[in-house]
């Protein structure tokens, strides 16, 4: 009745407060767009963007830790007018492997365990995307995040080398080889990190397991390599076993591949990496591992479903 007494006034008010439901007739961009959205959200998430301030601390800190040594090396090179950089482009990631390992351990569980723990995965699969889209988006996002954290220091080194007016051809070749190497490393580490993290909804377990797998395998391999190397020194023969042992840890695999194909100096004890022939086996092992990780993730998520 009040409405009838003051129609104008109440009418105006109700218009302000109740716009009513508006249906959506605009574009629906479909599956590929949804996959890209998930990719960009996950990539941003890997650096804590779009998440709480607390979750930005560790990835940003690790990113800084990766870049600072490169900046210092550049400063030294420019200041001392050295003829070459203190470290090869391909070797930078090997030297900094602990930091990369920490980054994978902290961000891989963030990328997948959260969705499992809070059961957000079914919501994704109730949308146009398929299992493969989810796995690819997450895989690509973590690999891209890793590529950023490993390639940016190389860019810093390359920029420094240009400033110091080092040989352009030489530096560019080394820089590109370095980029290929860290791209392989990013894919491999992302795969291993995601497979381990996707096995458990508990983030803590994921972090511990990734660190354990990376450090224990590297520790075991480098110890065995050192022993094998010492043996061959005693025998006075060239080392044959040591390079092959490198097949059994992610970082030594990458080292093997880049020694064989990307003109890197081996970081193996004794400095002898696999020959080009053996390098093929290393490369196949890396590619096989990446494909295997993808396969395992697909299998895992086909079960998660709704």
């Amino acid at each position: 009745m009040a409405v009838e007494q003051t129609p104008a006034q109440t009418g105006a008010q109700s218009r302000i407060h109740n716009i009513g439901y508006r249906s959506y007739d605009g574009q629906r961009l479909g599956r590929a767009y949804a996959r890209r959205s998930l990719y960009s959200q996950s990539l941003r998430g890997s650096y804590g963007l779009g998440r709480s301030a607390k979750s930005k601390v560790l990835p940003m800190l690790l990113f800084a830790v990766m870049c600072v040594p490169a900046a210092i090396m550049v400063a030294v090179t420019v200041a001392t007018k050295a003829k070459e950089l203190p470290v090869e482009y391909t070797n930078y990631a090997i030297v900094m492997q602990a930091v990369i390992g920490l980054y994978v351990a902290s961000q891989a569980p963030q990328a997948v365990s959260r969705d499992l723990r809070f059961k957000t995965v079914p919501l994704y699969f109730s949308r146009p995307i398929e299992t493969s889209d989810y796995v690819r988006a997450k895989f690509a996002a973590l690999a891209s995040a890793l590529f950023l954290i490993t390639a940016v220091p190389l860019v810093v080194l390359y920029g420094g080398a240009m400033l110091a007016k080092l040989d352009f051809t030489d530096q560019t070749k080394g820089f590109l080889q370095g980029l290929v190497s860290v791209a392989l490393l990013s894919l491999l580490f992302a795969g291993i990190g995601l497979v381990i993290s996707a096995a458990t909804p508990r983030r803590g377990f994921g972090i511990a397991a990734v660190i354990a797998v990376l450090t224990i395998s590297y520790g075991a391999v480098s110890t065995l390599q050192a022993i094998a190397d010492a043996q061959t020194m005693v025998d006075g023969q060239s080392s044959t076993a040591a390079p092959w042992i490198g097949l059994f840890s992610p970082i030594t695999l990458i080292d093997g591949v880049q020694t064989a194909f990307l003109g890197a100096t081996s970081s193996y004890p004794g400095g002898v990496g696999p020959s080009t022939g053996a390098g093929v086996v290393f490369l196949l092992a890396v590619l096989g591992l990446i494909a295997g990780c993808y396969g395992l993730l697909m299998r895992r998520y086909r079960k998660v479903g709704l």
Partner: protein, 337 residues
Amino acid sequence: MDVTVIATESLSKRFPRVTALDRLSMDIGPGVTGLVGANGAGKSTLIKILLGLSPATEGRATVLGLDVATEGGAIRERVGYMPEHDCLPPDVSATEFVVHMARMSGLPPAAARERTADTLRHVGLYEERYRPIGGYSTGMKQRVKLAQALVHDPQLVFLDEPTNGLDPVGRDEMLGLIRRIHTDFGISVLVTSHLLGELERTCDHVVVVDGGKLLRSSSTTDFTQSTAILAIEVTDTDEHPDGTAAMRDALHARGVETHDGSGLPGAGHILLLTAQGEDTYDLVRDTVAGLGLGLVRMEQRRHHISEVFTDSDEQQRAAQQSTAQHSAGKEAVGHGG
């Protein structure tokens, strides 16, 4: 729009040990449809199949005219889904989360933000939508879950136990919201529940499944208004110490069959009779007046869905549970007729 929103044809789903759905055939039209069944009756399995996420063992089903076996992606673009369980990450705000989910449904960024603001307002989330979800109450979380199912303006939403864990007030608000999804938003709804009373108030149509089989599918008006049964209660007077008995005899004398509402509250004081038409009302009025009794009430009794199930032996147990719920006062108050 198609007359049929969901259609299944001898749809079966068998797991190694369990048959979740057993040759289920049904047609569901636009509007709010309730899917009732005890836990493990196959409700969630049915939703999974309808979303195209789990292949049926045999039979076929279409949603919005699209085949679930081959056009799952197209279905999921037009359909919203609100799961039964928690599905919200605690460390992001409702706005961020719903925007992300809108983009996952294919909405461009600007549209996703606009629709998120609209949808959150419609489900009743205002300033709190900028705070992390971790600090929300159960009722607010349910609203966010509902918002993410509606944000892409689907033609149909599946709501799996949306009132789970809510207090009576929250339950009523959620049911009102579900009703509005159809009446105001024009979106068809399939809502599951194991509580019949809720669906009776909210749905246009109720489908009952048990053990993966279709037990009954009909509109709530069929359930509750197919027979106009009158309930009559009269006073006792000095002349007729048992007014109810006198009334019954008088009605019998005039050829009207009655039966007492045994099992209902106030049994013994209530006479039930089937109204043949307008005449029956006049007849009752005249009979009461002739006997000099006071007419306490004469009302058209609506059946409750639970009473309909009492007829079915298989549902005896479920019906007993829900009759107990309803009879606590509801019948006594009744619906004016």
